[in-house]
Symmetry: C2
Subunit: 186 residues, 2 copies
Amino acid sequence: MDISKILDYIHQLPEQSKLALQNNVTEIAFAKGHILLKANKVESNIYFIKKGLVRAYVERDNEVTFWFGKEGETIISMKSYVEDQPGYETIELLEDCELYELKTENLRKLFNEDVHIANWGRKFAEKELIKTEERLISKQFKNASERYLELMKDHPELLQRVQLGHIASYLGITQVSLSRIRAELK
Amino acid sequence: MDISKILDYIHQLPEQSKLALQNNVTEIAFAKGHILLKANKVESNIYFIKKGLVRAYVERDNEVTFWFGKEGETIISMKSYVEDQPGYETIELLEDCELYELKTENLRKLFNEDVHIANWGRKFAEKELIKTEERLISKQFKNASERYLELMKDHPELLQRVQLGHIASYLGITQVSLSRIRAELK
DNA sequence: GAAAAAAATTAACAAATGATAAAAAATGAA
DNA sequence: TTCATTTTTTATCATTTGTTAATTTTTTTC
């Protein structure tokens, strides 16, 4: 998905504002397995995914995957981006990826100069917020197998592209539990 | 908490922009038990809490409380505010409340006219996003009693002001489970 | 302050999920 | 292809959380 489409997909922008953003973006590619972003560091770039798939995880006793990003989606260390503080997430590439890179610093400048871009940034955060809130609510009153079915319905392609251990972690259960759930559904 | 402080608390605003917002705000009060916002309706106002306490819940077989708002916080039906669609949450007043009311329509106008207000709105969504994401992650790798201890640490006053059934629901467990956890901690 | 109503706790048993280990299946490298 | 490695499944038992119902405590109302 090319950058112009990605930007508009987040929120429609006037041509001039879109160009201002595009002028600050550079293309970059990494191989599967690459760690794009490390936890506990202030990250100074954000990325848009042109092609490929990544996951965000938090490291504890085990790794907890809490987000998958694919074509058209945006990779951000929220804490870095919002509060200039070290982030809690690590981003790992699950496939070879082509990315668009944008320096946070430049984006901030644009936010202050262009009301359309400021509102575009607002829309981005608001949409992400709704998605996250819906997942939280789903986690609160659906059991593991309902959440699995929901994921199958909403993002069937993930099950083809991501190994089950990561899916299980994303659903908040162990891989063994997920295997059991899948067996029961047959 | 008065409106000027609430607005700045979300994100510092130039005096003129703050006044523009304040000019669109009216004060209003409701009694404990009042339903401020109903699920499945498009809501045309947002509210800032001057005084009091509210909860947001989703209705399923049971009620699932997923948010508490107190002095200084903002009451929004996210779906209404962001996508002009009926929201999923109902807002109930847990105490007598004094609120500041702001018409979504007027806020949208201000977002398009004033870059400072647009960025203020962006910051609001971003901060809420981080809070929600942290709760999601916490839900993903902490068990019920760890989540209870976390809530006690971060928001001890809630335990004084909110009945345990709502707390249990917020933590994603039954009230009976919460009682058991509290008994074990003694 | 007593009675009624609501909220919180306790107990017993059921169901869901976790932990560990072993086996089977799939994937990748030589 | 074949061997080694990784991923997934299966099985068993332990732990956590849910369900229901009864009891106690707290709050509200008259």
